[in-house]
Symmetry: D2
Subunit: 421 residues, 4 copies
Amino acid sequence: MSLMTNDTTALESDVRSYSRSWPAVFDRAKGAEMFTEDGQAYLDFFAGAGSLNYGHNNPLMKKVLLDYISDDRVVHSLDMLTTARNEFLTTFTEQILRPRGLDHRVMFPGPGGTNAVEAALKLARKITGREAIVNFTNAFHGMTLGALSVTGNSMKRGGAGIPLVHATPMPYDDYFDGDVADFMYLERLLEDAGSGLNEPAAVIVETVQGEGGINSARAEWLRTLAELCKKHGILLIVDDIQMGCGRTGGFFSFEEAGIVPDIITLSKSISGYGLPLALTLVRPEYDVFEPGEHNGTFRGFAPAFVTASESIRQYWSDDELEKSTKAKGLIIEGAFNALVAQYPDAGLISKGRGLARGLQFGEAANAGAVAKEAFNRGLLIETSGPNDEVIKLLPPLTLTEDELNRGLDIIRDSVAAVLAG
Amino acid sequence: MSLMTNDTTALESDVRSYSRSWPAVFDRAKGAEMFTEDGQAYLDFFAGAGSLNYGHNNPLMKKVLLDYISDDRVVHSLDMLTTARNEFLTTFTEQILRPRGLDHRVMFPGPGGTNAVEAALKLARKITGREAIVNFTNAFHGMTLGALSVTGNSMKRGGAGIPLVHATPMPYDDYFDGDVADFMYLERLLEDAGSGLNEPAAVIVETVQGEGGINSARAEWLRTLAELCKKHGILLIVDDIQMGCGRTGGFFSFEEAGIVPDIITLSKSISGYGLPLALTLVRPEYDVFEPGEHNGTFRGFAPAFVTASESIRQYWSDDELEKSTKAKGLIIEGAFNALVAQYPDAGLISKGRGLARGLQFGEAANAGAVAKEAFNRGLLIETSGPNDEVIKLLPPLTLTEDELNRGLDIIRDSVAAVLAG
Amino acid sequence: MSLMTNDTTALESDVRSYSRSWPAVFDRAKGAEMFTEDGQAYLDFFAGAGSLNYGHNNPLMKKVLLDYISDDRVVHSLDMLTTARNEFLTTFTEQILRPRGLDHRVMFPGPGGTNAVEAALKLARKITGREAIVNFTNAFHGMTLGALSVTGNSMKRGGAGIPLVHATPMPYDDYFDGDVADFMYLERLLEDAGSGLNEPAAVIVETVQGEGGINSARAEWLRTLAELCKKHGILLIVDDIQMGCGRTGGFFSFEEAGIVPDIITLSKSISGYGLPLALTLVRPEYDVFEPGEHNGTFRGFAPAFVTASESIRQYWSDDELEKSTKAKGLIIEGAFNALVAQYPDAGLISKGRGLARGLQFGEAANAGAVAKEAFNRGLLIETSGPNDEVIKLLPPLTLTEDELNRGLDIIRDSVAAVLAG
Amino acid sequence: MSLMTNDTTALESDVRSYSRSWPAVFDRAKGAEMFTEDGQAYLDFFAGAGSLNYGHNNPLMKKVLLDYISDDRVVHSLDMLTTARNEFLTTFTEQILRPRGLDHRVMFPGPGGTNAVEAALKLARKITGREAIVNFTNAFHGMTLGALSVTGNSMKRGGAGIPLVHATPMPYDDYFDGDVADFMYLERLLEDAGSGLNEPAAVIVETVQGEGGINSARAEWLRTLAELCKKHGILLIVDDIQMGCGRTGGFFSFEEAGIVPDIITLSKSISGYGLPLALTLVRPEYDVFEPGEHNGTFRGFAPAFVTASESIRQYWSDDELEKSTKAKGLIIEGAFNALVAQYPDAGLISKGRGLARGLQFGEAANAGAVAKEAFNRGLLIETSGPNDEVIKLLPPLTLTEDELNRGLDIIRDSVAAVLAG
């Protein structure tokens, strides 16, 4: 049974958003493509906002998922031990954490990224006995009250209906276009006993800000931040929900910088198949929650464990994916740089790292117009940034080079249509 | 690959809890039974803490789920329109909401119950411009900061690491064993301009408190509460995450009372298969969020939509399930009443409604001991209440009468072993 | 230079209040009388809202004050040691504290009552490491943010402009007209680990609520409260700002109940002459502030020390004042009881203790009307209570019996004019 | 009766501070001198932390004060109209406000500076409907909860015992030694919809930070701040409690910058005699409190009104005081500059404006040592700054040139003793 769009919009809350930008009813999807009910194909450079790094309905994970469900294996079990859970814990620890020198323990904080962030903030406060958190300009960490309080977007913050307190925003890397030394402000406030900054429990940071407009922090900036945290006894939380799972190349986006966060959040692509799953990784010395002190119903969604384990086995046993992600990223970067050169007056800026890429427009409205043109040409891309001034590309890491080029062609045409129009 | 328990406990955070009570590795499950890796069967009167009202791996929903996945239909899509989403919106509205006189719109607030509660609280604050929430003693609403602030359990509250403010707990029905008139305190505070109670945006209530110890509110108490809210311009939020989807008989647990909440939260069994899904239902006049003002990655988990729609078609087209739930509930009640009579000195109290049932022990430790004995005899039941003084039964609504009787036999034996021991 | 009223009202903020009820310009005052610029005399049963227990410009204290100023002795010195400060500390400790079995230390928290309350709350939180405060319905503790958060009046709370959090109001004595056992609600919440009440650092209470409508707590209620606090490790703060300094008979209003608060606040009449002075008294084991951790410019207002010391020497060396206060209080009580009997349909209730007396009207507006009639007849009385339904009498303790009777005559006439009118 | 120091220290809370630095019992004071009980004279360059701008027991105000008290004129009257109040309102408005182009109304928020700040913050929040306040590094605004939350000193903040929220500290003028453009950070955060800074109700600022270490803001910095506030619809609060009443030259410290704050706080020297008095000045369009929405017992301390009026008449009818303050300030500046030159390795920095002067030491402990040496030589000076690294000079504005030179001689000797020692 398939209904017309106008049948259900009256049934759903007006809070819905993507269905406004993309007025089509999608039915099937495969790899880097989505198909509407009436058979129209769209190339998907959005990939579930980074939740589908291995593409839609990846056949490798699909197989284990179908087998798992067919065999009546445990689907839902909170945090009871299951075969699938054990397998995931072992696979993730042995193939992801330990080879990267990470001795973190795995916490299942609930099914979504915001749960992982909430657990991370609670942990940091419990560990340190402090309440304050340092976050960064244009950060995005989630929509529940704790996560929202460390999120930058003022419209989303306004939704809280109460003052969002306990967090102080600090300038993200290059916030002042290089005019100010890194962490000058934060460092000074931390060292000044009269600064008025509450002593922070933790700093929470994204290595690349997706919602914030594809802003990448430099490796040296991250390293300095990690050192600053260490020096002042502040925990470092890296929110790798959108940029982890290979989005920037390595499994974790912070690998390149060579830092070891005290707490790491993962979600989105961790299941490998778009299934709800989230992790909070914590160094063993900071694993201080009492049994059950943080819990939740969907902590043990076993089908997500099996697809997650399979995705790790399939994609993280060697460095093929990492290499190809970086290579494809450079292709986009090249294409964006060409556009920057081609439209010198459009205020274009090429941004990003790996396959998290953005093209910023001097005139914010142009980004939306380009995304709309792209949709009309069969490509899904969204905008991000505080004024939606950036088109944001998060294609499946597994897309083919042909798909990548097709998408870039559409973008070029769309940019031309908007900037020439 | 299956690992021994002791292989993974060192890999996981110590926050894990159920795997402590039930030291077994579960692998398969069907209906009201779970099976460990080594083939041991357990009767499951826990049912994913109320997430598996239709049993484990219900074949009806399993079929549509396998088909959906097999056919490469859209799995993850945030809040884009999909065929599965439209189908769910229509099915849920036409077969659940409208026949019950509810004109609510459906909001997808994220995959878990706590997301539904957070969205409800944010909405209530935005609608009213007020910040305060009235909650009830022994309430449980979730683990993220907003939901946790309206939750009663002191251990879980302590996990926040910051003061949980904005909520004032009021006595739940029968909190004083009938010694105090219903809502005497709340009403007086609301009417007294000098009471010091911040004017509430909303009251949030469970009709039966599951985590709180299977405390049931009487229909007349709920009606008085609804009237009080209306009189004072306070929104009424019913958190039906654990008690909805037929747990107490009718689809919504508040139907019996004949009230119409302004905002309703659902999760746990709404997908019909244990898949992560949550809803916040809101009256159209209160649907005030801006597009995207609350969002989240896993709002559109389509496999959950198709199993949810199927569960509605299969179980809510007539009143068979409702009747059987109530009948089975009465069987448990009868068995519990017999135990109360049999052990007059044990402080036993039979509690609950429908298939949400509890047996409270005068000596709190006895509840835990009985649950342990039951596990040893092949039955999964958990404890609840502020001191874990209640054994809590949430069997699948679809369990057979034979399974029900087998479970009750085990409980009787376990109680005997503990109280006679 | 004396100006007309209408000259200055445009110069002052509209927040002014008493000058609205009493539209006259006062110039001189003596004992229980105030005189306007044009020579009109008013009997003052308001006494600076309890700040002038020894009357206006009491000649005993006036003498030492004039001498002190004339001799160029230190007027302002923050918390430097001064002769006047030492004298006060010794006099107050030796003549007030020690004879009453109180080993408290004296803290000078700033010049007004609200400073004393703020210091008390900060101390209680520092001592216990907890944040929550239990206050009572219709409490009044001050207008600064900390004190306001434990104050009941909704209009005044609204002035904060931010959510007032961290406090939970509990029913004051007789809040339910005897229908509910004392502290049933508070005790239950404290004992229930699932109640949702944050563990309190302190309870703050007035023994008689002046602003709240002259509500008196019974001695046994106060004793039970003290025991409850002790049992649960909660500090007991008695705010004796309005009811201390002999207002109810003994120097401290809690003496009658035989309790020993952990922290006591004093202000208003402590200087004996209406000069700004406030004290926070703290048991030595709780004297935990670091040097300077709480400070303020007007902590050492020496003229107030000398009048305070003199008032103690003059009025608290024997029990004359205490006896006369109680006797005069009974005269008012008798007069009020007669009015209650005389107007059986007016909903009159006689309230209070010592010389803190109230007459409550069934129709709130009648209280204001009576106060207005009294003003027209030359008597200053104000109203209090959440709806200003109580006329509140706080005459100087030193007024003559003739003055007392004259005032009561005016009240009788005013009541007659309003209720007969 | 005069007691030895050791008699009373056991009676007083350990929170006392100045009596530790200056272990002497002071008894009399005149002009710029204080005298101990045993007749030792001290030159006072502390002046009640800026509360005694016209010197101790100034004979001009002393006369009106003695007359006022002698004549039994109203001492205490809350906010009833009194002759003294009217006179003050008229004098202050006509001789201070209007000649400076200020149309503000006068609010009496309570007796101390912290009351004035609390009222200002409450007003700003009520006016704007916003909760956040921007304050500055090393700000000091008071010890009650609202004022403390906008104060920088971490030790004092710690005394709150609860998280101090709602304020975000911004760098004060020259916080980065000129390396960063003024307001770069604040402006960027205000303009960036994704910055995470809650939209501020107000900015609160001192033109010279006394407690913060005598940090002066440049006139152009203040003007830019005022423009920034105007542009963004943020109220500008100037806290002129320590720097107003002529301390920097003009009556208000912001006059030099030519700005007009929306709200101004005054206290300390406003009474002209060290009597507790505080004002919150508010532009008429922002005078939005309801009658009584903010109140307090000691709002109408009439003796302070008469000395305040007299001080205005005596010192602010011409520009003599302003000129002499600036001239004396330059003498101190010259002396400090000479010390800076004399001790090139001591990290000395000369700071301040008018007669608010500081000498900062590279080694913080040296400042304390100098203050101690000065005390031993008969001069009272305190230290300030986050690490007490600055000796702070706030002598009476009325001190003679001889007194000034004597004080500077002592400072020179003390510096020599410490730096040469």
